[in-house]
Amino acid sequence: MFKGNFIQNLPKIYGTYTGGFFVFIILMAIAEQAGVSAKNIGVMFVAFTVLIYAMIGYLSRTIQVDAYYVAGRQVPTVFNGMATAADWMSGASFVALAGGVYFGGYTYMAFLVGWTGGYVLVATLMAPYLRKFGCYTVPDFIGTRYGGNLVRACSVFVLFIASFTYVTAQINATGTIASRALGIPFEAGVWVGLISILICSMLGGMRAVTWTQVAQYIVLIVAYLIPVFWISNKVGGGVFPHLMLGDEVARLGELEQQFGLVKNSAADMKAAGVPGGLKYISGSHSGVPEGGMAVWKYLSLAICMMVGTASLPHILMRYFTTPTVRAARKSVAWSLFFIFLLYSSAPMLATLSKLALMDPNLPTGIIGKSISDVQSIEWVQRWSEVKQVFIADFNGDGILQLNEWFMRGDVVVLATPEVAGLPFVISGLVFAGGMAAAMSTADGLVLAISNALSHDIYYKIIDPKADTAKRLLVARVLLVIIGAAGAYIASFRLTSILGSVAWAFDFAMSGLFFPLVLGVWWKRATRAGAIAGIMTGILSGLFYLLWVYPKFSVPIFGGVNTPFLGIDHLRFGLIGAPVCLVVMVVVSLMTKEPDAATQKMVDDTRIPTGKAILGRQH
């Protein structure tokens, strides 16, 4: 069917795949017309796409070390960009981002800037140099640059904490989506999610994950953009919402004035029995909060997310797979372009969704209507049953006020197509997209952890004489163990205790950012400096988190502590990273400068041409 090798045929293969996916959507639309139930359409969407990923995973199986760890370093720029975008955009980005903007408005959007701006740091400070270095994993770079098993083990420790925090949340998301789409209990959904994740990664490691992530990106971006454009056209938002929602944003400002932004007291909400995790609108959509503290809150969150992005191993390792240093740089740009397509759409979806519910002139509007009317709407009933939306008539006037309507953030993405009256095939598509987003990130994370354990701990420290077959066997066994551990923890629904995915960013920035940057940009950085920096950084960050987060501080310190300078549990990297920097610089200057061989290694890392520091197979 195709001439030439696999890589040359990629555009054709994925072009055919995308066409096939559209045909599948059309078939589902026809099936819906023919009377197939909404539930079955949801099942078919998820089952079909997961089956395709599993097939790609199987076809990409390998017995070579460099294919398993870095996809043979032959992933073309644009495709690596797509894979990174899928790796990056988690189930949370897909289902929760628009909801976050919906409730948080301007302030929440610091996350958007943070989660995109970080790529500028990746491209300028890290990616090209790590690619030149030729490492398999992030600790592989730190272990070789600074030399020694201890520094290698320290960086694996940070990687483990950061990535594992993140992976439980992702498996949790796969479980939620699988359970909703397939109509099975959450606990079973988690294990279905895990098996799907493992099928994609176990046989082919990075190679299999790369090619499934490209396929998952295509599904998730189609699933996100079709509803946004459709809804926009349906509610009169304009053909191209990104450029045309100015009036709608202004209208939301008017409606906020009209209904008033009221803050509910915690006691009222408790008395009314508002289910946990549901939120209401109490802040302005586009208005900037006044005051220096509000500005600092915005900036500090953006800084943590940006620096954290540039330190997350599962993202950095994607750039180890390109053929050249030059391709690694371009690939970062493509990654951000593909991420931008979704991230710039989330605020538009939030705007449209908010307007659909708030504007009394629209048929979909519910705020300001009588509560009994709202309660008889079909989608309100369906989502109330599963405790995703809730109505509390605080003032007892029988009219739904803005502060009396509670909703889970995910509902913005999952229910808006329904609210706007789109056919169910779109909701099925959204489920498939959410599943793709959660699976692709979980895949990348599980692989990042198990690769670090198998390559850096097992092969480099425990058994350097292991042969290829044994190394890959250990890598696969660890992959299953890490995945199962993540699923086991996720099945307890501990995520409300584990807190936010933002923690992963803070952990990574506390322990890895400066050791990575200084490893390339400061020749004087020494092994002792790196060890001291990594450990003090991560431990001070961790200690501050325990101190500042009420769920930990109450049992440990016997009370709630006021955040220092507004640095709360989402921003604890602002404690860890500076500690890491200062300790690393001071200890480095106190110890003897690195030997000539290490200095030459850094020199070679800085230049795109010439041999990699680490061999192709190592």
Binding site: G117, A123, L245, L336, F340, I607, T609
Partner: protein
């Protein structure tokens, strides 16, 4: 100064320029959020537009620009990679 050092100096300066632009679009403009929001762009309040879309787009453009510029620096100093495929 050796070719290597000259190359690294240029690369460093280029890194600094990129990071200044980065800091401008990610941090500096949001220090003046309230002031910016009194202006508008495409009908959106400006600070809202920048955080929802504008800065994100600036980062994308910046990354393509910075990669191309770095490739030119590579070429000038003879560190351009051979296309292997």
């Amino acid at each position: 100064m050796s070719n290597k050092d000259a190359y690294w100096n240029k690369t460093k300066n280029h890194m600094i320029v990129t990071l200044v632009l980065w800091a401008f679009f990610s941090l500096v403009i949001f220090m003046f959020g309230s002031e910016l929001n009194t202006m508008s762009f495409l009908g959106y309040p400006l600070a809202y537009y920048m955080t929802a879309q504008g800065s994100l787009l600036a980062f994308v453009v910046m990354l393509f620009w910075t990669a191309n510029k770095q490739e030119k620096i590579d070429e000038e100093h003879g560190y351009s990679e051979r296309e292997e495929d």
